[in-house]
């Protein structure tokens, strides 16, 4: 039995979920998204209320940004602060034991108390959305406003899970097991839920990129249609207006558009030639050779300074040696991997090492399973558009990893980026994991492995909640 056959399992094969009347069948199909929506809402809400105020990455300054928009009705400039707002936030941080015992913010100073890294460098879209409930609650205590902001982010999380369900139903139209497993796996990732229940602009980016992936899927399956095109344009615009990291979504979008036009098989050597020519073209348009060195073109430097803020010129000049790469990057990759699944708070609340090993093993098994699937031609009975969606998922994941690894400065390795930046490719990752692990096990276990994966994610989630409660409240 090919893997594709497992993907295409018919609903009729299972007596429990094969109702006798069409009406009952319709109800059962509709019941699943409602169950997922309720579960996602409760799950997000649980994380939002259990984690103490201000205990997410840069949450005080993310909230400050949104609150200033709510108060002033305009975008605050970088470095611009409101003394009263900062005092209120610092006071609340003090009351909720944000700082160590004996550390007091100077609330009477004429300058604003320091509450963290200034987030006003980011585009304002997400903060403008969060500012809506904050402006309605501006006369209430600041914690009320914070929880209102978190609630908005939880709504993005719920919509993201709904998108995941839709993607799974499109990808495996006759396999209810995969249709349920993919969104369940997504909503049970503890680090993602933690991020999607806090005030931060990554939440909107994650949601928008998931919508973008959905529209790419429509492009690849049905060709270029107006509604998916509008969805794609809207999602990429929203994502780019929320955070610069969203630009990685442009490349998969271009690829999906190309596949929507060209819907015939392409030989591997044509791909190789195309990628080579594209690489040469991009190198020529981005780089220039002068004074015996490679430099960036002025337009890319301007883009980097105004929007990307990646210090690409430093990146080009860095040129690490192979020894440096080998000595540093495995550790960085491990940090990214473990923090992708189970790091909370400001990255300082960790899950037990057992679960770190479990997610490492799952990742390795997924990669091996995908390679085995390709080697033993397990995906040959999939339709061409389904195989292309899997390739697109791979491109998404590789780009997300690349974009994060580029941010790591090997010369000044005091800051290691966290896995939360890769959550924008979380759905492609889960899709590949669901498919990859099926390729890793014998034929008879392929359906069971998905169920086992969901069960282990439930345990991972319980372990995560326990870790958070133990850290903050015991």
């Amino acid at each position: 039995m090919q893997l594709g056959t497992v993907l295409m399992n018919t609903r009729v094969e299972s007596p429990i979920i094969s109702p006798t009347t069409p009406q009952v069948k319709q109800v059962r199909i509709l019941a699943t998204p409602w169950l997922l929506v309720i579960l996602a809402f409760l799950h997000g809400l649980l994380y939002a209320i259990v984690v103490p105020p201000w205990q997410h990455y840069d949450e005080p300054t993310h909230f400050e940004y949104a609150r200033l928009i709510a108060l002033w009705g305009r975008r605050p400039a970088v470095g611009e602060t409101d003394l009263e707002t900062n005092r209120e936030i610092a006071n609340s941080m003090y009351r909720f034991k944000f700082w160590q015992l004996g550390v007091y913010p100077d609330l009477l100073s004429t300058t604003s108390p320091h509450i963290g890294y200034d987030e006003k460098v980011h585009p304002p879209l997400y903060y403008a959305v969060v500012a809506l409930p904050i402006s309605m609650m501006r006369f209430l205590p600041i914690e009320h406003q914070l929880y209102a902001g978190r609630f908005i982010t939880v709504l993005f999380y719920v919509l993201m899970v709904l998108c995941a369900w839709r993607i799974a139903t499109i990808m495996a139209p006759t396999n209810p097991l995969l249709q349920m497993s993919i969104p369940l796996l997504l909503l049970l990732i503890p680090a993602l839920t933690n991020q999607m229940s806090a005030i931060n602009n990554d939440a909107l980016v994650n949601f928008s990129i998931t919508v973008l992936f959905l529209s790419c899927l429509y492009f690849i399956r049905d060709g270029l249609k107006p509604i998916p095109l509008c969805l794609a344009v809207l999602s990429i615009v929203v994502a780019v207006m929320a955070k610069r990291t969203a630009v990685v979504g442009i490349i998969p979008l271009i690829l999906a558009l190309f596949w929507s036009f060209y819907r015939r098989p392409i030989r591997w050597w044509v791909w190789l030639l195309g990628i080579t020519f594209l690489g040469i073209f991009l190198s020529v348009s981005i780089l220039e050779y002068r004074d015996s060195l490679w430099h960036l073109q002025p337009w890319i430097i301007a883009l980097d300074q105004q929007y990307l803020r990646l210090s690409l010129d430093t990146l080009i000049a860095r040129q690490p040696t192979l020894e440096q790469l080998v000595s540093v990057y495995p550790g960085v990759i491990d940090v990214l991997l473990t923090s992708f699944w189970g790091r909370f708070g400001w990255g300082h609340v960790v899950i037990t090492p057992f679960w770190d090993w479990v997610v490492r093993l799952f990742t390795i098994a997924t990669i091996v399973g995908l390679v085995m699937g390709m080697r033993f031609r397990l995906y040959t009975d999939l339709q061409m558009w389904q195989r292309r969606v899997l390739w697109l998922s791979g491109v998404f994941v590789v780009l997300a990893w690349f974009a994060v690894l580029v941010r790591f400065d090997i010369q000044q390795s005091f800051y290691v980026p966290q896995g939360r930046y890769m959550h924008l490719a979380v759905l492609p990752t889960i899709l590949l994991m669901g498919i990859g692990l099926q390729g890793f096990v014998p034929k008879l276990w392929r359906a069971k492995v998905l169920f086992a994966l969901v069960c282990s994610f439930v345990l991972l989630d319980i372990a995560a909640i326990t870790s958070i409660i133990l850290y903050y409240y015991i």
Partner: protein
């Protein structure tokens, strides 16, 4: 005595056993034929969780484990004090082992609770007449519920209580019980003189709910704004989440088979 209780309750036990034998299979059969709906299970579970998390009761915090020394006499001239570490939660009182004289009067015994720093104001002052002291066990000095989330408490989490009886006649005293130093979080003071080898026989009393034994719901709710300050909210959120995860797993299991 146990035998007499058994003999008296024997008819009830045998009747219950008879009924169980006769109707248990029928009951199981009925439940199998008419399984309770998911909604009924969910809402009844919610009610149960609410009942276990909404009604607080008093629970003893960390305290000395031995109280076997008749340490001294509390007179109008003496003062016995004890320091202790405030735990997360709401302090509602302090139990102290004091034995009143044979003919107790209405003179007051006062417990003053404050921080272990003189610079800060007292937290609570409770006075009880001598006659209110329990001659057979610990006496509770109940205070207004006090929580650690107030900013002042962050300065120090070490509290101290003093027991004084300034109006006691000179020929009367109250016996004070202590024990060896089995409590690491504080020590005994007599007239402000440290006695590091002893601890007063006391127990801090905190307010907790039944579910707090397993999950620190009261601590999670502490200081949170609005309805988030209620422990039941977290209990119900946790329960609902687990219930729907179970429901999703059940659905997945059905699909698998």
């Amino acid at each position: 005595m146990i035998r007499s209780i058994y003999l008296q309750s024997r008819p009830v036990i045998s009747s219950a056993w008879f009924l169980l034998q006769r109707y248990s299979l029928k009951l199981v059969g009925f439940i199998r034929r008419h399984p309770p709906s998911v909604g009924l299970l969910f809402w009844s579970g919610c009610l149960l969780v609410l009942a276990c998390s909404a009604f607080p009761y008093n629970v003893s915090g960390s305290a000395p484990t031995q109280r076997n020394i008749m340490y001294g006499r509390l007179t109008s001239e003496h003062q016995y004090s004890q320091t202790f570490q405030m735990e997360a939660g709401t302090l509602t009182g302090i139990r102290v082992l004091l034995f009143p004289p044979a003919n107790p009067s209405d003179d007051l015994v006062t417990l003053r609770l404050g921080y272990d720093t003189k610079a800060l104001p007292e937290i609570a002052v409770v006075s009880l007449p001598q006659s209110a002291l329990n001659p057979h066990g610990m006496t509770i000095f109940a205070i207004e519920p006090f929580s650690v989330t107030t900013p002042e408490s962050l300065i120090t989490s070490t509290l101290r209580f003093d027991i004084v009886a300034p109006t006691l006649p000179t020929n009367q005293w109250i016996s004070v019980v202590a024990g060896p130093d089995t409590y690491a979080g504080g020590q005994l003071f007599v007239d402000n003189e440290s006695k590091p080898k002893y601890d007063l026989a006391f127990q801090p009393i905190y307010r907790a709910t039944w579910l707090d034994r397993w999950i620190p719901l009261s601590r999670i709710a502490q200081g949170k704004p609005g309805f988030l300050g209620q422990p039941s909210v977290y209990a119900i959120a946790l329960y609902s989440c687990l219930f729907f995860v179970g429901l999703a797993l059940r659905r997945l299991w059905q699909v698998l088979h």
